[in-house]
Amino acid sequence: MDRLVIIFATIGIFFSALAIVLRLSDVKARRNPADILFNVGLFAIMWYVFVYMMIITGYIQQLPNCYNKGIPLYYLIAPCFYFYVQLKLYPAKKMPRYWYLHALPFAFGLVDIMPYALATDAEKNALMQQLVENISIGFQHDYGFIDQQWHYLIRLSLAFVYLLAQWRLLFMVDTTEGDISSKLLFFLNLLTVIYSLFIVIQVSMVLSILFNRLQAAYILKDSSQLIWLSTLYLIFSIWICFGARTHRT
């Protein structure tokens, strides 16, 4: 099953990357703020999966500089998807005046990755070696200004809040006026469903670790759990690449 997890995730990364490239190749989409936000969200998820796979397979030891860089990006996934949905449902609506407040966690993450980024190669290699042996080091190491486990907790909590707001957007939209195509609505609903599943599984894993900290390393590498995430990611990536791309408005 370990192999399946890696294979699914790898294929998922490939299709995600392809989806981003295809979207960027479309001039109209490239200038559309909603599509830009969506691409950022897609890339952040892809990077997350990529780094996780590198850790699981141990290849992160060859690329220690890849580690930790994604933390700020991960904070962007939830707001990006939220505003993407909002801009699609209400094209006339503009971004909020204080939109940059939503990027504060990104900035905060950017600051927190500095200690690792400034560490020596030897320190990075040593940490990567420990990380590969015990993946729970990922939230136990000292290369950061805050306890690293807070990144998981804050990110997922924020994601949960954004997700609720995203669902509210979808619910509140008035479909009787006929301004929004049913295809777009279906796409946005499905996107939110898949993203919700991602969040639910991730929060479940975090809860599982919180209640069984001793086995954090095992839980984080438990293929019987990761297989759900990787399968979901594979389906999502393929759908985004081939299915959803054709339905964008």
Binding site: L164, F171, M172, T176, I201, N212, Q215, Y218, Q225
Partner: protein, 990 residues
């Protein structure tokens, strides 16, 4: 005469060598009350299988477990007489019910496999394990050669003889050339390569006294009770008289022998012999041993070779005899103290006579000197040694002659002089420092005057101290006592270690470079810097043999320590230990009994049994490491509801062990094979519970309890005592299955549940807002569509009033009144529609009746209402509003276009749907009129259909046999919590 007699008595105990074989007790017995072991064998994993009282047991180095417990199923036998192990993990069990073979790999009794097929249940006369093959002589007269998977018949023998005495030794022996079987007054010799068989009758009576067979080159040796050894060399039997044997008693009580490589090893009484393993039976070496006292006198019941040792079963447990790793030269002079060498003779101190030994003469008591307590020897020159006497202060040994040292105690000495001297150091060419039971005294060699070592500041600073070692260097005196380590120089005296008031018995000290080494009782070796400010302990935790060190000496930057439990060596921060099983004849060393002969490069270390001597560098070479792989010998699992599962089978004790979700605790029993040979220590670690390895508990049992789901890595490390870098680690993965509340599914459900509640709350809030928006939009639309049109009409009529004459004016005013009333009606309808207090079905019915009567009765149309008046049934505001407006449109159509005389109106709420029917008896007329009835599609019909769509209803309209009919069906959707809402509303209504 008395002295000669005494010498004669002591001589046997003064031995200058010992056999290269040692022994250790493997097992004291099944328990304290069952110590008689009749048979024992060791399998390839190191487990010892023993037979006692007709039952088979397994000893894993820690615990003895009955085979009936290890093997869960019904045993195929009741009484076991012997057990033999082959090299492939199989036990050949000779029972009263015949032969059975137990495979420890598959944990089963194979019966049909080729190597065992046909043998199960047969009687067995003899078994022999050669290592690479297993041999068996069965009760049907066949000798089988068995290997890992097959067997072959190599010869047969006559089974008709009656054997009334079965010796403890072997009746069947096999070497590479021949198999020899002694059975029924006949000796069978089978050449293995040619299959040629030789059958020779024993000389009369010889077989009846046969004790053992030993295969040798060119024949076989026969040990005969009370006679010794016979040889059969292929031609005949030949007696081998050997004068070296101390007696003619060759019973198992005092005699034991075996073949090893090209030698025949014989233990006879306390003598050890090595003979050539051939027909010449030449004596190669002779020594002494203590196996007779240690093992043979305990009544030997049988023996078997296993790996590189021999397991001997006795009435008091099982013993192992094995070759020692280091050939220590042993000087058995009894409990040892100091020693010295003068010319080529070594003199050993102790209690009683001195002992002397040289290369040219045996060890013997040195009776030229009187009996005394010779404690420590201090060489003043090559031919003069000063001896610290435990009682008589000092003696001199000059060229082998002992004399008491002259002793003059000045009258002015105020301190109490004590003649118990323990150590000596030289302060000046004429002055010795002597450590006594009462402090340090100065002894003048030239005058014999003795006085206490006084300090101008502190006086007799060592008063009352038992001084155990002393050094003098550069004006500083350092010494150890039973209270610690001290340092003195004129004007300065301090307790160096322990620096506080703690008392610590320090037996000896050695200065080397910038370090001071202390031999302590309880703290092992303590290393101090030259100032004594920093200390470091080296003790058992670091690998030292014992925390009690009696003696130490630095030889070429290597520290040799005699401890309470063996010899420890410290070289470059690496420790080497040697113990009994490594060849040490004793493990407990003595204070001050250490001497280095620089000329011969021999280090002498003395203990309770005498002295050992060796070349120091010899012990620094890595010796063969006898280490076993970590082995799990059993598991026990406690499940919920007080259920237990034991497992001992090898096939289930795999590297990954799965625990079910209801496992409450898990216990692992680790074997300690060959632990009696003191070759290794065992450590363990459980990840992620522990970060470092810990010493395995004596029980060798690791328990895991209250464990949560996940993987636990139990690593067991076997570390060679003499080479800590030589180790074997094996890791078992314990996988605990999760209970439901530990699964991802549970957490997903939990989150979905919490999210669901949150979402529902948010949904309800959002829905209200959304409904409000909708309602507002509806009202504005209705106001615009309905009232707006009427008001426009009124405005237009008003404009016309100004232009038109009187008659027309009257009609216009009438129109104005009509429009105004209609506008009021419209407003009233809209207000009624948005008022949620009218959501009960009764309100709708009443409203419909009111409207119908208002419009239809003036037209003389009879109205029939068919309505169920259940107050409790709620109709959603949107449904109610749209239904009413559809109804209103239909009634207006009847008024305007039907010319009907009767109208039928029905409104039924079944709970699953609301059905509304408006029917009139107007007749179908012309196309144009009918279009008017049906065709207000631009306005009325279209509105009706739109409204029906908005509430998810179906609307049908058209002529039937009875007239024109409009039917609206509204399905009622039951949402989650709708029951709850009805329940709440019921109470509200109540």
């Amino acid at each position: 005469m008395f002295i000669k007699l005494l010498v004669g008595l002591l001589l046997p105990y003064c031995r200058a060598a010992a056999s290269p074989y040692h022994y250790a007790q493997v097992l004291t017995g099944i328990d304290n009350h069952h110590q008689m072991i009749s048979s024992a064998a060791k399998d390839q994993l190191g487990m010892v299988w023993v037979v006692s009282g007709g039952l088979l047991y397994r000893y894993n180095g820690v615990n003895v477990t009955a085979f009936s417990r290890l093997y869960k199923q019904q045993l195929p036998f009741d009484e076991v007489s012997a057990v033999t192990a082959d090299s492939w993990g199989r036990l050949w069990i000779d029972t009263r019910n015949g032969l059975f073979v137990f495979d420890t790999n598959t944990w089963s009794f194979p019966t049909q496999l080729p190597y065992v097929n046909g043998l199960i249940g047969k009687s067995v006369f003899a078994l022999f394990n050669r290592g690479d093959a297993f041999f068996l002589a069965d009760g049907e007269g066949t000798i089988w050669q068995i290997d890992e998977s097959t067997k072959k018949r190599i010869s047969g023998f006559d089974t008709r003889a009656i054997i009334d005495r079965k010796p403890l030794g072997k009746l069947l022996v096999v070497d590479n050339e021949h198999a020899w079987l002694a059975f029924g007054d006949k000796l069978y010799g089978i050449a293995l390569h040619t299959g040629k068989k030789q059958v020779v009758p024993f000389p009369k009576g010889l077989f009846d006294h046969l004790e053992d067979l030993l295969p040798v080159d060119g024949g076989v040796l026969l040990r005969i009770y009370s006679e010794g050894y016979y040889l059969f060399d292929g031609d005949g039997f030949r007696y081998l008289p050997r004068s070296e044997f101390p007696t003619n008693d060759f019973t198992n009580w005092n005699h034991w022998s075996f073949v090893k490589d090209d030698k025949v090893i014989v233990f006879h009484e306390d003598k050890y012999f090595e003979f050539s393993r051939d027909t010449a039976f030449r004596l190669l070496d002779e020594d002494t041993h203590v196996i007779d006292e240690g093992i043979l006198h305990k009544r030997l019941n049988g023996w078997q070779q296993g790996q590189d040792e021999w397991l001997l079963c006795t009435d008091q447990g099982v013993y192992s005899v094995f070759p020692a790793k280091i050939p220590f030269n042993f000087i058995a002079c009894g409990s040892a103290r100091g020693m010295v060498r003068q010319q080529d003779t070594y003199y050993f101190g102790g209690y009683g006579y001195l002992d002397s030994w040289s290369k040219t003469s045996d060890l013997q008591p040195y009776t030229a000197a009187p009996e005394n307590n010779y404690y420590t020897f201090f060489a003043l020159s090559n031919d003069t040694t000063c001896i610290a006497m435990e009682g008589d202060f000092l003696n001199f040994l000059v060229n082998g002659k002992v004399s008491a040292a002259p002793l003059h105690l000045p009258d002015t000495t105020q301190e109490r002089f004590n003649g118990m001297a323990y150590c000596i150091a030289r302060q000046s060419p004429d002055t010795l420092l002597v450590g006594t039971y009462n402090g340090i005294w100065q002894y003048a060699l030239s005058s014999g005057i003795v006085r206490p070592l006084m300090c101008p500041t502190y006086g007799f600073f060592s008063r009352g101290m038992r001084v155990q070692s002393i050094s003098y260097s550069g004006g500083d005196v350092t010494y150890t006592t039973d209270q610690g380590f001290f340092s003195w120089k004129p004007g300065s005296f301090r307790k160096v270690y322990p620096a506080d008031e703690t008392k610590l018995n320090v037996y000896a000290h050695a200065l080397s470079g910038d370090s001071v080494y202390l031999a302590t009782k309880g703290r092992g070796l303590v290393i101090l810097d030259s100032k004594g400010t920093h200390s470091r302990m080296v003790n058992v935790d670091n690998g030292l043999a014992s925390n009690t060190v009696y003696q130490l000496m630095d030889v070429s930057h290597t520290l040799f320590m005699g401890t309470h439990e063996g010899l420890s060596i410290l070289k470059d921060n690496r420790l080497y230990n040697y113990q009994h099983t490594d060849g040490l004849p004793f493990e407990e060393f003595n204070h001050q009994a250490i001497f280095y002969d620089k000329k011969e490069d021999l280090l002498f270390m003395g203990g309770i049994g005498g002295y050992i001597s060796f070349t120091p560098t010899e012990l620094l070479h890595a010796s063969p490491i006898y280490m076993d792989k970590p082995l799990l010998s059993g598991t026990r699992m406690g499940l919920k509801t007080n259920r237990y599962v034991d497992d001992y089978a090898r096939k289930t004790l795999q590297d990954t062990i799965y625990l079910p979700s209801d496992a409450v605790w898990f216990s692992m029993d680790f074997a300690r094979p060959n632990y009696y040979r003191q070759a290794y220590r065992m450590l363990f670690r459980i990840a992620p519970l522990m970060e470092e390895y810990q010493e395995m508990p004596v029980s060798s049992q690791i328990n895991l309890s209250g464990i949560s789901a996940g993987n636990y890595y139990v690593s067991v490390k076997i570390q060679a005592i003499n080479a800590s870098e030589a180790e074997q680690i094996h890791t078992w993965v314990i996988h605990k299955e999760p209970v439901f509340t530990e699964t991802l599914g549970f957490y997903v459900l939990l989150i979905l549940g919490v999210s669901g509640i949150l979402c529902y709350i948010l949904y309800e809030r959002s829905r209200k807002i959304k409904d409000e928006y909708k309602l507002r939009r509806g009202i504005s639309r209705d106001l615009h569509d309905e009232v707006g049109g009427l008001l426009t009409g009124i405005a237009m009529q008003t404009d016309l009033l100004r232009l038109k004459p009187g008659q027309i004016l009257g009609r216009s005013v009438e129109s104005l009144g009509s429009y105004s009333r209609e506008a009021i009606q419209m407003m009233d309808d809209i207000i009624w529609a948005v008022d949620s207090r009218n959501n009960q079905q009764g309100n709708l019915s009443d409203r419909m009746k009111f409207l119908a009567r208002q419009l239809l009765e003036p037209k003389n149309m009879s109205i029939t209402f068919d309505m169920d008046q259940e107050e409790g049934k709620l109709i959603k505001q949107t449904v109610r509003q749209n239904l009413y407006l559809i109804f209103k449109e239909a009634i207006h159509n009847i008024c305007k276009h039907s010319e009907a005389s009767a109208v039928y109106i029905r409104l039924h709420h079944t709970g699953k749907e609301i059905k509304m029917v408006i029917q009139d008896d107007g007749k179908k007329k012309g196309m144009a009129t009918d279009k008017l009835r049906m065709g207000r599609k631009g306005q009325g019909q279209q509105n009706m259909h739109l409204r029906a769509t908005q509430i998810g209803a179906t609307l049908k309209s058209g002529f039937t046999e009875n007239g024109y009919e409009v039917v609206v069906s509204v399905p009622i959707r039951r949402y989650l919590f709708s029951g709850y809402k009805e329940f709440v509303s019921f109470f509200k209504i109540s």
